[in-house]
Structure formats: structure tokens, C-alpha cells
């Protein structure tokens, strides 16, 4: 019986260890009243400090969507974000490396040039935008966000209302991006694909932090090393709670 239990635990552990690369994402969230950059999936708030050098670019935007300085800073076991003024938006570009694997084997951080027998090789970029302040105009396509989720209408005040989003690839609406509504609380949800105009309409799930997650495969720019570029994007925003 004990052996069976051990086998089950091992199988579960293997499943977790071999989670698809696109399952993990970056997003912004509050930690002890500070804005932090989170790397993980679901309730797993993983080691962003270890991956600090993967942060290629971080930018804040004021209410007029003009860029302002935003600087990631290691603070103990987490990565905080310092801005030179109160931001309306935050964005990040996070390069998660080139990974390959053979069949269902474990992912290795190599390109096909180093692992010629690989059946899959991908280059992985993760993008994120957080809405930090009140909006009075639509969120624009941000030049450094190759993949970006933008709200296509006003953000409702309460959960349960519908909201249409548009997924942009290189600034233009893209069909076929796979999007889930709640990366934190429902990470295994079946993704919905964006329509021809790049839109998808979903119900806002949380009276609190909402983190949507989109995945889109872009064409390779180095076919000898990887088959495609796996782009993931998150959009985070908060619906305030009622008085306590």
C-alpha cells in the first residue's frame, strides 16, 4: 500500500515537474503593499529572484501612457518594482530561454543545435501588463509587448460581468491565441481561442486580482535552434472589494 502511495506521489511529482513551459507566466501583484513581479502559475509563486536576469525590460506608463522609469529590485526572496511616479500601467518583457525535449522527456534548456535529437525546441518569451490606475482611454498596444492582452471595453466594477478582450500580436489583433480567464485560481481551464478579430469575451471572475493568460506561437527566426517562438502574455487588474 505504501509502495502504491509512493508511486502515485512520484507520478504527481513527475507531472508537476514536466508541466508545459507555457504554463508558467509572469505577472504583477501586490505583496506587503508593494508591487511585485511574480513568476509562477496558479498558487505557485515561484522563484523570481533566481530568474531576475531574465527580465529584459520593465516599463511604467503614466495616465497619458507616456513611459516612466520602472526598475525591478530584489528584496529578499521576491522581486519588487520601483517606479519614479505612480504608474497607470506596468509592463515587462521576460526571456525564459530556449528549451527542447525528446518525446515526452524532460525539458532541457538547450536549442536543437545542442540537442539534435529533440522533437520540440522552443524559444520562450513572457510578457505582462498590469493596470495600476484609473483609465480614461483604451490601453494602447505597447511597442515592447509582442503579445498583449488589452481590455476592449470598460472594466466593470463587479465580478460576474462580461468583458471583451483583444489579443494583439506585434500590435495587431490575432486569431487563434489561447486564453484563460484566471491564471491564479483556475490555471487548468480549457483555453478559449480568440476570434478572427482577436477578441474573446469572458466573465470577470474575481472581486480582487484578475490575471488573464494568453499563449500564441510565433514563427521561428532561427529554425536551426527552435521550431517556434512561444509567446505568453498576462493582463492583470484589480476589482476593489466592498467596505469591510
Amino acid at each position: 500500500m505504501r509502495n502504491v502511495k509512493s508511486l502515485v506521489l512520484a507520478a504527481v511529482a513527475m507531472g508537476l515537474l514536466t508541466a508545459p513551459l507555457d504554463a508558467h507566466a509572469v505577472w504583477f501583484a501586490q505583496r506587503a503593499k508593494q508591487t511585485a513581479l511574480i513568476y509562477g502559475v496558479g498558487a505557485d509563486d515561484l522563484d523570481a529572484v533566481k530568474r531576475f536576469t531574465f527580465i529584459e525590460k520593465m516599463t511604467g506608463y503614466d495616465a497619458n501612457y507616456q513611459p516612466i522609469k520602472a526598475t525591478p529590485r530584489i528584496a529578499g526572496p521576491i522581486v519588487l518594482v520601483d517606479t519614479e511616479q505612480q504608474p497607470t500601467l506596468l509592463s515587462v518583457v521576460f526571456f525564459n530561454g530556449i528549451w527542447s525535449r525528446v518525446g515526452d522527456g524532460e525539458w532541457e534548456k538547450k536549442g536543437r543545435d545542442e540537442m539534435p535529437n529533440a522533437t520540440i525546441s522552443t524559444k520562450n518569451y513572457k510578457y505582462s501588463v498590469a493596470i495600476m490606475g484609473p483609465l480614461d482611454k483604451p490601453v494602447p498596444a505597447l511597442s515592447d509587448q509582442v503579445l498583449q492582452i488589452v481590455p476592449a471595453g470598460p472594466i466593470p466594477k463587479t465580478m460576474g460581468e462580461k468583458l471583451t478582450y483583444k489579443v494583439l500580436f506585434r500590435g495587431k489583433p490575432v486569431a487563434g491565441a489561447k486564453i484563460i480567464n484566471d491564471l491564479i485560481n483556475d490555471p487548468d481551464a480549457t483555453p478559449i481561442e480568440t476570434a478572427a478579430d482577436g477578441t474573446v469575451t469572458m466573465t470577470v471572475r474575481n472581486q480582487g486580482l484578475n490575471v488573464l493568460h494568453a499563449v500564441y506561437k510565433g514563427p521561428t527566426d532561427d529554425p536551426k535552434r527552435y521550431d517556434w517562438i512561444e509567446n505568453t502574455a498576462t493582463l492583470s487588474f484589480v476589482l476593489p472589494h466592498q467596505p469591510e
Binding site: T83, Q85, M132, P134, P240
Partner: protein, 125 residues
């Protein structure tokens, strides 16, 4: 379009401004407007002689001398940054500002020792 923009403004004006009585009073004490971000209450007072910002953290007044404060006034598509000077108690002072409906005032207060950032945005109605 106007209604759409108005709805969008109303919908998100509460960012960082959810009332939370568990963390102390959310009423203005100096005749200004207030915004609550988590457990930090910001009160902005505009007067012909200057602007004042009061900061209360979990019902405790902060020590302005240990912090820096800055306002970012967004009006008609332009942003103006205003550095405030620490004043008595939890008050920060700055030059007079002419605020009108539709403006937004970002507030960023930084603890000099811990580098903790506290902030909110006022949407002027």
C-alpha cells in the same frame, strides 16, 4: 463615446480606493478628498496657497520627515510632476494646483529607509 469614457472612468476610479473600515477612518480630516489604497489613506487638500497631502497608514499617521512624496498631475494629456516637501507630522506641502474634472493625480510616497512605495491615483470628478 462620451458616455463610454465616463463609464470607464467611473469603473476604475476606485483603483486603490476601496473603503476598508477595518483599517481606520476613511473620512477626510482636513477638508480634502481621500483615497484608500489597501490600508493606506491619502488625503489631498487643495487651497489657493498650496496643496497638502496627508498620509495615514493603517490608522497611524506616517512620519513625513522619513519619506519623500511626489504628485503626478495628468491634465489634458500632459503630465506635471510636483515634488512635495515634508511638513509637520504626516503632512507634505507643495505649490498650488488647479485641479479640474477629468484630471488625475498620482501620488507616490517612498519610505527613505525601507524604500517601500505607497501610492494611489485620485480621479478628479
Amino acid at each position: 463615446m462620451k458616455a463610454h469614457v465616463h463609464a470607464m472612468l467611473i469603473a476604475v476610479a476606485a483603483f486603490g480606493a476601496s473603503p476598508s473600515l477595518a483599517h481606520g477612518s476613511t473620512q477626510p480630516k482636513h477638508g480634502g478628498i481621500v483615497s484608500l489604497s489597501g490600508e493606506t489613506l491619502f488625503e489631498l487638500v487643495t487651497a489657493p496657497t498650496g496643496v497638502q497631502l496627508y498620509v495615514v497608514d493603517d490608522d497611524d499617521p506616517v512620519d513625513a520627515a522619513k519619506m519623500t512624496a511626489q504628485l503626478s498631475l495628468d491634465t489634458a494629456g500632459k503630465t506635471q510632476n510636483v515634488v512635495l516637501a515634508p511638513a509637520a507630522g504626516n503632512r507634505f506641502d507643495g505649490p498650488a494646483l488647479q485641479l479640474k474634472s477629468g484630471d488625475k493625480v498620482g501620488v507616490l510616497v517612498i519610505d527613505k529607509a525601507s524604500q517601500a512605495h505607497l501610492g494611489t491615483t485620485f480621479a478628479i470628478k
